[in-house]
Protein backbone atom coordinates (compact mmCIF):
# COMPACT_ATOMS: atom_id res chain seq x y z
CA UNK A 1 0.00 0.00 0.00
CA UNK A 2 1.33 3.45 -0.81
CA UNK A 3 1.83 5.91 2.05
CA UNK A 4 -1.31 7.49 3.47
CA UNK A 5 -2.18 11.12 2.72
CA UNK A 6 -4.35 13.29 4.93
CA UNK A 7 -7.67 14.20 3.31
CA UNK A 8 -7.33 17.82 2.17
CA UNK A 9 -9.64 20.42 3.69
CA UNK A 10 -11.96 22.03 1.18
CA UNK A 11 -14.87 23.40 3.20
CA UNK A 12 -15.35 26.71 4.95
CA UNK A 13 -15.90 30.17 3.54
CA UNK A 14 -19.10 31.66 2.09
CA UNK A 15 -20.28 32.59 5.54
CA UNK A 16 -19.23 36.20 6.12
CA UNK A 17 -19.80 37.46 9.61
CA UNK A 18 -20.07 41.12 10.50
CA UNK A 19 -17.33 41.88 12.97
CA UNK A 20 -18.13 44.54 15.49
CA UNK A 21 -15.78 47.47 15.45
CA UNK A 22 -14.65 46.99 11.87
CA UNK A 23 -17.49 49.22 10.76
CA UNK A 24 -16.42 51.85 13.24
CA UNK A 25 -12.90 51.62 11.88
CA UNK A 26 -14.13 52.37 8.39
CA UNK A 27 -15.97 55.43 9.66
CA UNK A 28 -12.93 56.65 11.55
CA UNK A 29 -10.65 56.15 8.56
CA UNK A 30 -13.05 57.96 6.23
CA UNK A 31 -13.37 60.86 8.63
CA UNK A 32 -9.62 61.10 9.16
CA UNK A 33 -9.08 61.07 5.40
CA UNK A 34 -11.58 63.88 4.94
CA UNK A 35 -9.97 65.84 7.75
CA UNK A 36 -6.53 65.41 6.26
CA UNK A 37 -7.74 66.26 2.77
CA UNK A 38 -9.54 69.40 3.81
CA UNK A 39 -6.61 70.55 5.91
CA UNK A 40 -3.97 69.75 3.32
CA UNK A 41 -6.11 71.33 0.65
CA UNK A 42 -6.50 68.48 -1.81
CA UNK A 43 -10.19 68.49 -0.94
CA UNK A 44 -11.59 71.92 -1.70
CA UNK A 45 -13.75 73.65 0.88
CA UNK A 46 -16.67 73.61 -1.52
CA UNK A 47 -16.37 69.84 -1.89
CA UNK A 48 -16.47 68.73 1.70
CA UNK A 49 -16.59 70.46 5.04
CA UNK A 50 -13.85 69.74 7.53
CA UNK A 51 -15.14 66.90 9.77
CA UNK A 52 -13.86 68.69 12.85
CA UNK A 53 -15.90 71.74 11.86
CA UNK A 54 -18.96 69.53 11.48
CA UNK A 55 -18.26 68.15 14.94
CA UNK A 56 -17.92 71.67 16.31
CA UNK A 57 -21.20 72.61 14.69
CA UNK A 58 -22.85 69.63 16.34
CA UNK A 59 -21.33 70.53 19.71
CA UNK A 60 -22.49 74.09 19.28
CA UNK A 61 -25.98 72.92 18.35
CA UNK A 62 -26.00 70.85 21.49
CA UNK A 63 -24.62 73.48 23.82
CA UNK A 64 -26.77 76.30 22.54
CA UNK A 65 -29.83 74.12 22.98
CA UNK A 66 -30.78 74.63 19.34
CA UNK A 67 -30.42 70.92 18.80
CA UNK A 68 -33.62 70.44 20.77
CA UNK A 69 -35.33 73.35 19.08
CA UNK A 70 -34.87 71.48 15.83
CA UNK A 71 -35.06 67.92 17.02
CA UNK A 72 -38.24 68.12 19.08
CA UNK A 73 -40.54 69.31 16.27
CA UNK A 74 -39.00 66.81 13.86
CA UNK A 75 -39.39 63.94 16.26
CA UNK A 76 -42.96 64.97 16.95
CA UNK A 77 -43.73 65.03 13.25
CA UNK A 78 -42.04 61.68 12.76
CA UNK A 79 -43.89 60.17 15.70
CA UNK A 80 -47.36 61.50 14.89
CA UNK A 81 -47.13 60.99 11.14
CA UNK A 82 -45.33 57.68 11.49
CA UNK A 83 -47.81 56.29 14.00
CA UNK A 84 -50.73 57.32 11.79
CA UNK A 85 -49.26 55.94 8.58
CA UNK A 86 -47.95 52.76 10.12
CA UNK A 87 -51.05 51.91 12.12
CA UNK A 88 -53.41 52.53 9.22
CA UNK A 89 -50.94 50.72 6.96
CA UNK A 90 -50.92 47.66 9.21
CA UNK A 91 -54.71 47.65 9.42
CA UNK A 92 -55.09 47.92 5.65
CA UNK A 93 -52.33 45.37 5.08
CA UNK A 94 -53.97 42.85 7.38
CA UNK A 95 -57.31 43.43 5.66
CA UNK A 96 -55.69 42.86 2.26
CA UNK A 97 -54.12 39.70 3.64
CA UNK A 98 -57.45 38.39 4.91
CA UNK A 99 -60.15 39.46 2.47
CA UNK A 100 -60.24 38.71 -1.23
CA UNK A 101 -62.35 41.73 -2.03
CA UNK A 102 -60.12 44.14 -0.18
CA UNK A 103 -57.10 42.62 -1.85
CA UNK A 104 -58.61 42.80 -5.29
CA UNK A 105 -59.57 46.42 -4.81
CA UNK A 106 -56.63 47.85 -2.95
CA UNK A 107 -53.50 46.09 -4.16
CA UNK A 108 -53.46 47.80 -7.56
CA UNK A 109 -54.23 51.11 -5.87
CA UNK A 110 -51.31 50.74 -3.48
CA UNK A 111 -49.06 49.69 -6.36
CA UNK A 112 -50.06 52.84 -8.21
CA UNK A 113 -49.55 55.04 -5.13
CA UNK A 114 -46.11 53.61 -4.36
CA UNK A 115 -44.08 55.38 -7.05
CA UNK A 116 -45.71 58.78 -6.48
CA UNK A 117 -43.13 61.21 -5.19
CA UNK A 118 -44.41 62.71 -1.99
CA UNK A 119 -42.78 66.09 -2.63
CA UNK A 120 -44.97 66.50 -5.67
CA UNK A 121 -48.04 66.44 -3.48
CA UNK A 122 -46.82 69.08 -1.05
CA UNK A 123 -48.85 72.00 -2.42
CA UNK A 124 -51.94 69.82 -2.40
CA UNK A 125 -51.30 68.68 1.15
CA UNK A 126 -51.08 72.27 2.24
CA UNK A 127 -54.53 72.95 0.93
CA UNK A 128 -55.92 69.74 2.37
CA UNK A 129 -54.29 69.81 5.76
CA UNK A 130 -53.09 73.36 6.30
CA UNK A 131 -49.57 74.69 6.20
CA UNK A 132 -48.82 73.91 9.82
CA UNK A 133 -48.28 70.55 11.35
CA UNK A 134 -51.23 68.94 9.56
CA UNK A 135 -49.61 68.74 6.17
CA UNK A 136 -46.36 67.51 7.66
CA UNK A 137 -48.07 64.74 9.56
CA UNK A 138 -50.04 63.83 6.47
CA UNK A 139 -46.96 63.70 4.27
CA UNK A 140 -45.08 61.41 6.64
CA UNK A 141 -48.18 59.32 7.24
CA UNK A 142 -48.72 58.92 3.51
CA UNK A 143 -45.06 58.10 2.93
CA UNK A 144 -44.95 55.42 5.62
CA UNK A 145 -48.37 54.06 4.72
CA UNK A 146 -47.63 52.44 1.37
CA UNK A 147 -44.50 50.47 2.34
CA UNK A 148 -46.21 49.35 5.55
CA UNK A 149 -49.19 48.04 3.62
CA UNK A 150 -46.98 46.12 1.23
CA UNK A 151 -44.83 44.55 3.93
CA UNK A 152 -47.83 43.75 6.12
CA UNK A 153 -49.83 41.91 3.55
CA UNK A 154 -46.70 40.09 2.50
CA UNK A 155 -46.24 39.05 6.12
CA UNK A 156 -49.84 37.87 6.41
CA UNK A 157 -49.45 35.92 3.17
CA UNK A 158 -46.38 34.26 4.60
CA UNK A 159 -48.11 32.98 7.70
CA UNK A 160 -47.90 29.21 7.60
CA UNK A 161 -51.23 28.04 6.14
CA UNK A 162 -51.00 24.72 7.97
CA UNK A 163 -51.23 26.62 11.24
CA UNK A 164 -54.41 28.27 10.02
CA UNK A 165 -55.84 24.91 8.86
CA UNK A 166 -54.94 23.57 12.30
CA UNK A 167 -56.91 26.36 13.93
CA UNK A 168 -59.88 25.63 11.69
CA UNK A 169 -59.62 21.91 12.35
CA UNK A 170 -59.96 22.59 16.07
CA UNK A 171 -63.02 24.71 15.42
CA UNK A 172 -61.46 28.01 16.52
CA UNK A 173 -63.54 31.04 15.64
CA UNK A 174 -62.48 33.24 12.75
CA UNK A 175 -61.60 35.97 15.18
CA UNK A 176 -59.51 33.63 17.33
CA UNK A 177 -57.59 32.45 14.29
CA UNK A 178 -56.81 36.00 13.26
CA UNK A 179 -55.82 37.09 16.76
CA UNK A 180 -53.93 34.02 17.89
CA UNK A 181 -52.46 32.66 14.67
CA UNK A 182 -52.41 35.19 11.84
CA UNK A 183 -51.29 38.27 13.74
CA UNK A 184 -48.49 36.69 15.80
CA UNK A 185 -47.37 34.80 12.72
CA UNK A 186 -47.20 38.00 10.69
CA UNK A 187 -45.38 39.94 13.40
CA UNK A 188 -41.82 39.17 12.24
CA UNK A 189 -42.59 40.36 8.73
CA UNK A 190 -44.40 43.43 9.99
CA UNK A 191 -41.52 44.38 12.25
CA UNK A 192 -38.93 44.02 9.55
CA UNK A 193 -41.15 46.09 7.27
CA UNK A 194 -41.23 48.77 9.95
CA UNK A 195 -37.51 49.28 9.56
CA UNK A 196 -37.99 50.40 5.99
CA UNK A 197 -41.11 52.42 6.78
CA UNK A 198 -39.40 54.37 9.53
CA UNK A 199 -36.32 54.98 7.39
CA UNK A 200 -38.64 56.40 4.74
CA UNK A 201 -40.34 58.52 7.40
CA UNK A 202 -36.99 60.00 8.37
CA UNK A 203 -36.15 60.69 4.75
CA UNK A 204 -39.49 62.43 4.32
CA UNK A 205 -38.84 64.77 7.23
CA UNK A 206 -36.88 66.96 4.86
CA UNK A 207 -39.66 67.00 2.29
CA UNK A 208 -42.24 67.67 4.99
CA UNK A 209 -40.30 70.59 6.30
CA UNK A 210 -39.87 72.17 2.88
CA UNK A 211 -43.05 74.14 3.31
CA UNK A 212 -43.35 76.56 6.10
CA UNK A 213 -41.31 74.96 8.83
CA UNK A 214 -39.02 77.26 10.70
CA UNK A 215 -37.68 74.63 13.04
CA UNK A 216 -36.90 70.98 12.48
CA UNK A 217 -33.89 69.01 11.35
CA UNK A 218 -35.21 68.98 7.82
CA UNK A 219 -35.70 72.74 7.81
CA UNK A 220 -32.23 73.13 9.27
CA UNK A 221 -30.75 71.02 6.50
CA UNK A 222 -32.71 72.82 3.80
CA UNK A 223 -31.62 76.17 5.07
CA UNK A 224 -28.01 75.06 5.28
CA UNK A 225 -28.28 73.65 1.80
CA UNK A 226 -29.66 76.79 0.27
CA UNK A 227 -26.90 78.78 1.94
CA UNK A 228 -24.27 76.25 0.84
CA UNK A 229 -23.28 75.99 4.46
CA UNK A 230 -21.69 72.58 4.25
CA UNK A 231 -20.85 72.29 7.94
CA UNK A 232 -24.44 72.69 8.98
CA UNK A 233 -25.67 70.58 6.09
CA UNK A 234 -23.48 67.69 7.16
CA UNK A 235 -24.32 68.21 10.81
CA UNK A 236 -28.01 67.86 9.95
CA UNK A 237 -27.39 64.82 7.78
CA UNK A 238 -25.38 63.22 10.57
CA UNK A 239 -28.29 63.76 12.95
CA UNK A 240 -30.78 62.14 10.56
CA UNK A 241 -28.45 59.28 9.86
CA UNK A 242 -27.95 58.72 13.59
CA UNK A 243 -31.71 58.85 14.03
CA UNK A 244 -32.10 56.17 11.38
CA UNK A 245 -29.46 53.91 12.88
CA UNK A 246 -31.02 54.44 16.30
CA UNK A 247 -34.56 53.51 15.28
CA UNK A 248 -33.29 50.50 13.37
CA UNK A 249 -31.47 49.42 16.52
CA UNK A 250 -34.63 49.97 18.58
CA UNK A 251 -36.59 47.76 16.21
CA UNK A 252 -33.87 45.15 16.49
CA UNK A 253 -34.36 45.29 20.24
CA UNK A 254 -38.12 44.96 19.89
CA UNK A 255 -37.59 41.98 17.60
CA UNK A 256 -35.34 40.32 20.17
CA UNK A 257 -38.00 40.81 22.84
CA UNK A 258 -41.13 40.01 20.88
CA UNK A 259 -39.71 37.26 18.73
CA UNK A 260 -37.85 35.32 21.37
CA UNK A 261 -39.64 32.25 20.09
CA UNK A 262 -37.68 32.33 16.86
CA UNK A 263 -34.69 30.03 16.80
Amino acid sequence: MSEARVVPFRGGGFRPVAKRGAGLLVFVVLILLAEWGTRAGWIGNLTLPRPSDVALTLVDLWQSGRLWTHLVPSLTRLAVGGVMGISIGIAVGVAIGLFSHVRAGLVPLVAALFPIPKIALLPLFVIWFGIDEGSKYALIAFGTFTPTVVSTYGAVDNVDRTLIRMGQSFGLSWFSIVRKIVLPGALPGILSGLRVSIAIGIILLVAAEMLGAEYGIGAYILQAGSLYDLERLFAGVVILSALGVLTSWAIGLAEKRLLRWRS
Binding site: P123, V126, I127, D132, G212, L222, G225, S226, L227, Y228
Partner: protein, 310 residues
Protein backbone atom coordinates in the same frame (compact mmCIF):
# COMPACT_ATOMS: atom_id res chain seq x y z
CA UNK B 1 -61.30 91.75 21.77
CA UNK B 2 -58.90 92.34 18.95
CA UNK B 3 -59.30 90.58 15.61
CA UNK B 4 -56.67 87.92 15.16
CA UNK B 5 -54.75 88.04 11.90
CA UNK B 6 -51.97 86.01 10.38
CA UNK B 7 -49.69 87.85 7.99
CA UNK B 8 -47.35 85.97 5.73
CA UNK B 9 -43.95 87.51 5.14
CA UNK B 10 -40.50 86.88 3.79
CA UNK B 11 -37.51 88.09 5.75
CA UNK B 12 -36.87 90.79 3.16
CA UNK B 13 -36.60 94.55 3.54
CA UNK B 14 -39.40 94.82 1.02
CA UNK B 15 -41.75 93.47 3.67
CA UNK B 16 -40.79 96.21 6.10
CA UNK B 17 -44.19 97.91 6.04
CA UNK B 18 -45.75 95.03 7.96
CA UNK B 19 -42.89 94.91 10.43
CA UNK B 20 -43.08 98.65 11.07
CA UNK B 21 -46.86 98.57 11.47
CA UNK B 22 -46.52 95.77 13.95
CA UNK B 23 -43.64 97.18 15.97
CA UNK B 24 -45.08 100.66 16.13
CA UNK B 25 -48.48 99.40 17.17
CA UNK B 26 -50.37 100.52 14.04
CA UNK B 27 -52.03 97.12 13.77
CA UNK B 28 -52.94 97.20 17.45
CA UNK B 29 -54.39 100.68 17.00
CA UNK B 30 -56.69 99.27 14.33
CA UNK B 31 -57.76 96.52 16.69
CA UNK B 32 -55.77 93.88 14.88
CA UNK B 33 -53.85 91.22 16.72
CA UNK B 34 -51.23 90.28 14.12
CA UNK B 35 -49.04 87.23 14.06
CA UNK B 36 -46.36 86.75 11.41
CA UNK B 37 -45.78 83.56 9.53
CA UNK B 38 -42.49 83.43 7.69
CA UNK B 39 -41.90 81.77 4.36
CA UNK B 40 -38.85 81.06 2.28
CA UNK B 41 -40.39 81.71 -1.10
CA UNK B 42 -43.32 83.63 -2.49
CA UNK B 43 -45.22 80.70 -3.92
CA UNK B 44 -45.95 78.78 -0.69
CA UNK B 45 -47.35 82.00 0.74
CA UNK B 46 -49.95 82.09 -1.98
CA UNK B 47 -50.91 78.50 -1.17
CA UNK B 48 -51.09 79.38 2.52
CA UNK B 49 -53.53 82.21 1.77
CA UNK B 50 -55.63 79.82 -0.27
CA UNK B 51 -55.62 77.19 2.48
CA UNK B 52 -56.57 79.79 5.08
CA UNK B 53 -53.31 79.46 6.98
CA UNK B 54 -52.55 83.14 6.43
CA UNK B 55 -54.87 86.12 6.02
CA UNK B 56 -52.66 88.62 4.23
CA UNK B 57 -49.49 88.30 2.32
CA UNK B 58 -47.06 90.53 0.56
CA UNK B 59 -45.26 89.11 -2.39
CA UNK B 60 -44.61 89.35 -6.08
CA UNK B 61 -47.16 88.26 -8.64
CA UNK B 62 -46.38 84.67 -9.46
CA UNK B 63 -47.99 82.14 -11.71
CA UNK B 64 -49.15 80.31 -8.61
CA UNK B 65 -50.89 83.40 -7.26
CA UNK B 66 -52.63 83.97 -10.57
CA UNK B 67 -53.77 80.34 -10.73
CA UNK B 68 -55.14 80.52 -7.22
CA UNK B 69 -56.90 83.77 -8.07
CA UNK B 70 -58.42 82.08 -11.09
CA UNK B 71 -59.72 79.35 -8.78
CA UNK B 72 -61.29 82.07 -6.66
CA UNK B 73 -58.97 81.56 -3.73
CA UNK B 74 -56.84 84.75 -3.66
CA UNK B 75 -57.12 88.43 -4.56
CA UNK B 76 -54.57 91.16 -4.98
CA UNK B 77 -55.84 94.19 -3.12
CA UNK B 78 -52.97 96.67 -3.00
CA UNK B 79 -49.47 97.47 -4.09
CA UNK B 80 -46.38 97.17 -1.94
CA UNK B 81 -43.02 97.57 -3.65
CA UNK B 82 -42.32 99.31 -6.89
CA UNK B 83 -39.39 100.13 -9.15
CA UNK B 84 -38.83 103.86 -9.35
CA UNK B 85 -36.35 105.71 -11.46
CA UNK B 86 -33.77 107.38 -9.29
CA UNK B 87 -34.01 104.93 -6.49
CA UNK B 88 -31.74 101.92 -6.52
CA UNK B 89 -33.91 99.04 -7.56
CA UNK B 90 -33.43 95.44 -8.53
CA UNK B 91 -30.10 94.57 -10.05
CA UNK B 92 -29.08 92.28 -12.88
CA UNK B 93 -26.16 90.14 -11.78
CA UNK B 94 -23.72 87.85 -13.51
CA UNK B 95 -21.37 85.30 -12.04
CA UNK B 96 -17.76 86.38 -11.93
CA UNK B 97 -16.80 83.63 -14.35
CA UNK B 98 -19.40 84.64 -16.90
CA UNK B 99 -18.45 88.28 -16.40
CA UNK B 100 -14.81 87.52 -17.07
CA UNK B 101 -15.88 85.62 -20.16
CA UNK B 102 -17.66 88.66 -21.56
CA UNK B 103 -21.05 88.83 -19.92
CA UNK B 104 -20.70 92.48 -19.01
CA UNK B 105 -24.11 93.73 -20.07
CA UNK B 106 -27.56 92.20 -20.59
CA UNK B 107 -26.90 92.37 -24.33
CA UNK B 108 -24.47 89.48 -23.94
CA UNK B 109 -27.02 87.20 -22.31
CA UNK B 110 -27.64 85.20 -25.46
CA UNK B 111 -27.27 81.46 -24.75
CA UNK B 112 -26.59 82.06 -21.09
CA UNK B 113 -28.35 80.43 -18.18
CA UNK B 114 -30.54 82.54 -15.96
CA UNK B 115 -31.45 81.51 -12.43
CA UNK B 116 -35.05 81.50 -11.25
CA UNK B 117 -36.55 80.03 -8.11
CA UNK B 118 -39.37 78.30 -9.92
CA UNK B 119 -41.02 78.48 -13.26
CA UNK B 120 -43.58 81.27 -13.12
CA UNK B 121 -41.78 83.22 -10.43
CA UNK B 122 -41.05 86.95 -10.67
CA UNK B 123 -37.46 86.10 -11.59
CA UNK B 124 -38.77 84.23 -14.58
CA UNK B 125 -40.81 87.27 -15.58
CA UNK B 126 -37.91 89.68 -15.24
CA UNK B 127 -35.55 87.38 -17.11
CA UNK B 128 -38.03 86.99 -19.93
CA UNK B 129 -38.65 90.71 -20.16
CA UNK B 130 -34.96 91.49 -20.26
CA UNK B 131 -34.37 88.80 -22.85
CA UNK B 132 -37.22 90.08 -24.98
CA UNK B 133 -35.93 93.65 -24.81
CA UNK B 134 -32.42 92.58 -25.81
CA UNK B 135 -33.65 90.04 -28.31
CA UNK B 136 -31.61 87.24 -26.80
CA UNK B 137 -32.31 83.65 -25.89
CA UNK B 138 -31.66 82.50 -22.35
CA UNK B 139 -32.27 79.23 -20.57
CA UNK B 140 -33.90 79.24 -17.15
CA UNK B 141 -32.53 77.17 -14.32
CA UNK B 142 -35.07 76.57 -11.56
CA UNK B 143 -33.21 76.33 -8.25
CA UNK B 144 -36.15 76.58 -5.82
CA UNK B 145 -34.56 78.87 -3.25
CA UNK B 146 -32.85 82.24 -3.24
CA UNK B 147 -30.05 80.74 -1.16
CA UNK B 148 -29.48 78.01 -3.69
CA UNK B 149 -29.32 80.56 -6.47
CA UNK B 150 -26.73 82.60 -4.62
CA UNK B 151 -24.59 79.52 -4.18
CA UNK B 152 -24.94 78.54 -7.81
CA UNK B 153 -24.14 82.07 -8.97
CA UNK B 154 -21.08 82.32 -6.73
CA UNK B 155 -19.72 79.02 -7.98
CA UNK B 156 -20.46 79.83 -11.59
CA UNK B 157 -23.07 77.10 -12.06
CA UNK B 158 -25.47 79.67 -13.50
CA UNK B 159 -24.61 82.82 -15.40
CA UNK B 160 -27.12 85.52 -14.50
CA UNK B 161 -29.89 86.54 -12.12
CA UNK B 162 -31.90 89.52 -10.93
CA UNK B 163 -32.42 90.39 -7.31
CA UNK B 164 -33.53 93.12 -4.93
CA UNK B 165 -30.73 95.49 -3.96
CA UNK B 166 -30.37 94.60 -0.31
CA UNK B 167 -29.08 91.21 -1.37
CA UNK B 168 -27.49 92.22 -4.65
CA UNK B 169 -25.42 95.09 -3.28
CA UNK B 170 -23.99 92.88 -0.54
CA UNK B 171 -22.98 90.27 -3.09
CA UNK B 172 -21.43 92.78 -5.45
CA UNK B 173 -19.74 94.50 -2.56
CA UNK B 174 -18.14 91.24 -1.53
CA UNK B 175 -16.98 90.79 -5.14
CA UNK B 176 -18.77 87.46 -5.18
CA UNK B 177 -20.71 88.41 -8.30
CA UNK B 178 -20.75 91.20 -10.83
CA UNK B 179 -23.49 93.66 -11.67
CA UNK B 180 -24.36 94.04 -15.33
CA UNK B 181 -27.46 96.23 -15.28
CA UNK B 182 -30.62 97.43 -13.57
CA UNK B 183 -34.08 95.95 -13.90
CA UNK B 184 -35.63 99.39 -13.91
CA UNK B 185 -34.04 100.04 -17.30
CA UNK B 186 -36.17 97.27 -18.76
CA UNK B 187 -39.24 97.43 -16.54
CA UNK B 188 -39.89 101.01 -15.45
CA UNK B 189 -42.52 101.33 -12.72
CA UNK B 190 -42.50 97.55 -12.30
CA UNK B 191 -44.96 96.64 -9.56
CA UNK B 192 -42.63 94.23 -7.81
CA UNK B 193 -44.75 93.12 -4.88
CA UNK B 194 -48.39 93.41 -4.01
CA UNK B 195 -50.60 92.85 -1.01
CA UNK B 196 -53.00 90.00 -1.38
CA UNK B 197 -55.55 88.14 0.66
CA UNK B 198 -58.10 85.41 0.34
CA UNK B 199 -61.08 86.05 -1.87
CA UNK B 200 -63.26 85.68 1.16
CA UNK B 201 -61.46 88.40 3.08
CA UNK B 202 -61.61 90.70 0.11
CA UNK B 203 -65.30 90.20 -0.49
CA UNK B 204 -66.76 89.64 2.96
CA UNK B 205 -64.36 91.04 5.55
CA UNK B 206 -64.20 94.55 4.30
CA UNK B 207 -63.69 96.22 7.68
CA UNK B 208 -60.84 93.97 8.63
CA UNK B 209 -59.16 94.29 5.28
CA UNK B 210 -59.42 98.05 5.26
CA UNK B 211 -58.06 98.23 8.79
CA UNK B 212 -55.11 96.09 7.75
CA UNK B 213 -54.38 98.24 4.73
CA UNK B 214 -54.55 101.45 6.78
CA UNK B 215 -52.00 100.18 9.25
CA UNK B 216 -49.89 98.72 6.47
CA UNK B 217 -49.85 102.01 4.57
CA UNK B 218 -48.81 103.85 7.70
CA UNK B 219 -45.92 101.48 8.14
CA UNK B 220 -44.95 101.94 4.51
CA UNK B 221 -45.03 105.74 4.91
CA UNK B 222 -42.75 105.53 7.93
CA UNK B 223 -40.36 103.32 6.02
CA UNK B 224 -40.27 105.56 2.98
CA UNK B 225 -39.66 108.61 5.16
CA UNK B 226 -36.80 106.99 7.02
CA UNK B 227 -34.95 105.07 4.33
CA UNK B 228 -36.18 106.06 0.84
CA UNK B 229 -36.84 109.79 1.02
CA UNK B 230 -34.50 110.13 4.01
CA UNK B 231 -36.53 112.99 5.48
CA UNK B 232 -35.75 111.81 8.97
CA UNK B 233 -32.60 112.54 10.92
CA UNK B 234 -29.92 109.93 11.52
CA UNK B 235 -31.45 108.84 14.79
CA UNK B 236 -34.79 108.24 13.13
CA UNK B 237 -33.08 106.25 10.40
CA UNK B 238 -31.19 104.19 12.90
CA UNK B 239 -34.32 103.46 14.82
CA UNK B 240 -35.99 102.24 11.66
CA UNK B 241 -33.01 100.05 10.73
CA UNK B 242 -32.96 98.57 14.19
CA UNK B 243 -36.64 97.78 13.93
CA UNK B 244 -36.19 96.04 10.61
CA UNK B 245 -33.10 94.21 11.81
CA UNK B 246 -35.33 92.33 14.22
CA UNK B 247 -36.80 90.57 11.18
CA UNK B 248 -34.20 90.79 8.43
CA UNK B 249 -30.63 89.57 8.74
CA UNK B 250 -31.36 88.85 12.38
CA UNK B 251 -28.48 86.37 12.43
CA UNK B 252 -25.95 89.00 11.35
CA UNK B 253 -24.39 91.65 13.57
CA UNK B 254 -26.16 95.00 13.44
CA UNK B 255 -23.38 96.91 11.67
CA UNK B 256 -23.27 94.50 8.78
CA UNK B 257 -27.03 94.17 8.55
CA UNK B 258 -27.61 97.91 8.74
CA UNK B 259 -25.61 98.48 5.60
CA UNK B 260 -27.59 95.93 3.66
CA UNK B 261 -30.89 97.27 4.94
CA UNK B 262 -30.11 100.85 4.08
CA UNK B 263 -28.68 99.88 0.71
CA UNK B 264 -31.67 97.83 -0.13
CA UNK B 265 -34.43 100.30 0.60
CA UNK B 266 -36.83 100.57 -2.32
CA UNK B 267 -39.96 102.65 -2.54
CA UNK B 268 -43.06 101.17 -0.97
CA UNK B 269 -46.22 102.29 -2.68
CA UNK B 270 -47.71 105.41 -1.14
CA UNK B 271 -51.10 104.57 0.33
CA UNK B 272 -50.56 101.10 -1.06
CA UNK B 273 -51.57 102.25 -4.51
CA UNK B 274 -51.33 99.59 -7.21
CA UNK B 275 -49.82 100.01 -10.67
CA UNK B 276 -52.43 98.27 -12.79
CA UNK B 277 -50.42 98.74 -15.96
CA UNK B 278 -47.60 96.70 -14.59
CA UNK B 279 -49.98 94.09 -13.23
CA UNK B 280 -51.64 93.81 -16.62
CA UNK B 281 -48.29 93.38 -18.28
CA UNK B 282 -47.32 90.63 -15.89
CA UNK B 283 -50.59 88.78 -16.36
CA UNK B 284 -50.24 89.07 -20.12
CA UNK B 285 -46.75 87.67 -20.00
CA UNK B 286 -47.82 84.67 -17.89
CA UNK B 287 -50.60 84.01 -20.34
CA UNK B 288 -48.34 84.30 -23.34
CA UNK B 289 -45.95 81.77 -21.85
CA UNK B 290 -48.75 79.29 -21.25
CA UNK B 291 -48.02 79.33 -17.55
CA UNK B 292 -51.57 80.30 -16.64
CA UNK B 293 -54.89 79.74 -18.30
CA UNK B 294 -55.79 82.01 -21.19
CA UNK B 295 -59.18 82.69 -19.70
CA UNK B 296 -57.74 84.65 -16.81
CA UNK B 297 -58.25 88.41 -16.57
CA UNK B 298 -56.92 91.07 -14.26
CA UNK B 299 -60.42 91.36 -12.84
CA UNK B 300 -60.09 87.87 -11.50
CA UNK B 301 -56.76 88.73 -9.94
CA UNK B 302 -57.32 92.20 -8.56
CA UNK B 303 -59.97 93.65 -6.30
CA UNK B 304 -59.63 97.35 -7.16
CA UNK B 305 -62.04 98.58 -4.51
CA UNK B 306 -59.55 99.04 -1.69
CA UNK B 307 -56.80 101.30 -2.97
CA UNK B 308 -56.13 103.74 -5.70
CA UNK B 309 -55.14 102.27 -9.04
CA UNK B 310 -52.30 103.94 -10.91
Amino acid sequence: ANTKLTVGALRFTSHAASFVAFERGYFADEGLDVEFKFFEAAQPMAVAIASGDADFGVTSITGGLISLAEKGAAKVIAGALMEEKGIDGQMILASNEAHAAGLTSPKALDGKSFAVTQAGSSFHYMGAKIAAAEGVNISYKPLQKVGAIIGALKSGQVDAWTIVPHIGKALVGAKAVSQIGMVADYLPDYQVTTVFTSANNAANERAKTEAFLRAFSKGAADFNAALVDKTLDAAGQEEMVKLIHKYVYEDQPYEKAAKSIINGAMRLNKDSALNMGSVQDQVDWFKSEGLVKDSITTEMLVDPSYVQMM
